[in-house]
Amino acid sequence: MTVYYTKDHEWIRVEGDTATVGITDFAQGQLGDVVFVEVPETGRQVAKGGEAAVVESVKAASDVYSPVSGKVVEGNQALVDDPALANSDPEGEGWFFRLRLSDPAEVEGLMDSDEYKAFCDSQ
């Protein structure tokens, strides 16, 4: 199991050919209080870098992009029902969706946790 990060501040935890996606702690801190989340429906095909979910804070609306291509196997209904989970546990209970990877090699271009930390420090 490996966790990767994107420059758009998503994380992706890969287990075999499936993965879980969410927004990072840095992202939730920048967004502020999350009041609305929309997750993709099961079966939807998402593209690497394509819009997959929506997160809205009191201040602003943001798109959540899929770090890799794949087919959605589950959206997090608990997060839809309680959007504040994206603030309180962004890299745990506040996950957005799970997907089956179309091309596992796509994760190779993503950042590991050290690279992502350095990226955030430079922001």
Binding site: G32, D33, V35, F36, V54, E56, V58, A61
Partner: protein
């Protein structure tokens, strides 16, 4: 972040409190401290301290000041008593809104507070429009604080006992921590509260003293916006602009009775026509179904999908825990209860026209129990 923004007297104080600073109105301003929702709720339940020193504080002086201002503003200044702030507008010849403001008679002169992003243009407008004998002084040496919330009076009266005797929309000069402060019982949240003008050289000591009161926490621009939206108060540059008239904006209360009848201020011809015949469109409040906020720029569409209006402010109401918005809609769609469709982020939302304020005002009006 660009470096063209200027700093305000409390810049370091905000940063020391852990504020997140953003560029706003040409300054570095605090958007939040602990979080917008928590700050919003604190201001509704206790007392919030806002730094609004970016706003323009002007002194307008001269024997012809009253007459000169009446040629510009739709306010009845002739009957405006000392120490009674009055909400008014700067207008174009065509009745469009150049800015909204508060004007108070203060002895021989008028004290005016205008929006931060528009103050330079307002000063030019006033200097060009007023007689040459009238002097417009931009009080750059003054800072401005707002203390807002049901417990604001408890906190401030501990330092200046006389403020407990002020009622909504009254003001005076008081001694606060050894300096003269101009304090009015007014604000931009819908709550009871005060606006406090003090010398910039003393503002840090006064802000610290206010924050030392147990009722008080600092509140950023984020909650200021959600609070004023719930209170149904328009924000210049969003809900008001030079293409919008006071009648369209539902600000007829700012047009004093004598001035409405007699005219003699900029934009009167269009405004008089709209008062008589009704405006084409009107600012209304919308309650939006679901949880997703509909924001500024969303389209109001009719049954055929044609654009008939626009959302000018929108967000999530922390008090109602639901999305709310202000929009301009044709008069035919402006009645309370009218269903509207809104296009935003590629989706259609359903809303209905509701009365404003969304959250009731709790001002300390004259005659109300203490």
């Amino acid at each position: 972040m660009s470096d063209t923004e200027r700093t305000l007297p409390l810049d370091g104080w905000h940063r020391g409190l852990g504020a997140r600073m953003v560029p706003f109105a040409g300054y570095h301003m605090p958007i939040q401290y602990e979080g917008i929702l928590a700050e919003h709720r604190w201001a509704r339940e206790s007392a919030g301290l806002f730094d609004v020193s970016h706003m323009g504080q002007l002194l307008i002086a001269g024997a012809e000041a009253e007459k000169g201002l009446e040629a510009l503003l739709p306010a009845d200044l002739r009957i405006l008593k000392e120490g009674r702030p009055k909400y008014s507008l700067l207008l174009t010849e065509d009745g469009g809104i150049v800015d909204d403001l508060m004007v108070t008679r203060r002895g021989e002169h008028f004290y005016m507070v205008v929006n931060g992003a528009t103050k330079e243009g307002d000063i030019d407008y006033l200097r060009e429009g007023l007689p040459r004998t009238v002097v417009v002084d931009h009080m750059k040496e003054q800072a401005l604080l707002a203390l807002q919330g049901p417990k604001a009076v408890d906190a401030l009266a501990r330092l200046v006992s006389e403020v407990a005797d002020l009622t909504f929309m009254t003001a005076g000069a008081f001694s606060l921590a050894g300096v003269t402060a101009w304090i009015s019982r007014s604000g931009y949240t819908g709550e009871d509260g005060f606006e406090i003008s003090v010398p910039a050289s003393s503002v840090e000591a006064i802000a610290t003293l206010l924050l030392d009161q147990p009722e008080v926490k600092p509140i950023g621009l984020g909650a200021r916006d959600s609070l004023r939206l719930e209170a149904g108060l328009p924000l210049y540059g969003h809900d008001l602009d030079p293409a919008t008239t006071p009648v369209e904006a539902d600000l007829v209360f700012a047009l004093s009775k004598r001035r409405r009848e007699e005219g003699g201020f900029r934009g009167w011809h269009r405004i008089a026509r709209e008062l008589a015949e009704g405006p084409i469109r009107k600012r209304v409040g919308l309650a939006v179904e679901g949880r997703q906020p509909v924001r500024e720029g969303a389209l109001v569409v009719d049954a055929e999908g044609s654009e008939v209006g626009k959302v000018t402010s929108g967000g999530f109401s922390p008090t109602l825990e639901a999305p709310i918005a202000m929009a301009y809609v044709p008069l035919a769609h402006a009645a309370v209860g009218t269903a509207v469709s809104l296009g935003h982020r590629g989706k259609i939302f359903t809303g209905r026209v509701v009365p404003m304020p969304f959250v009731p005002h709790r001002y300390h009006r004259k005659g109300a129990p203490k």
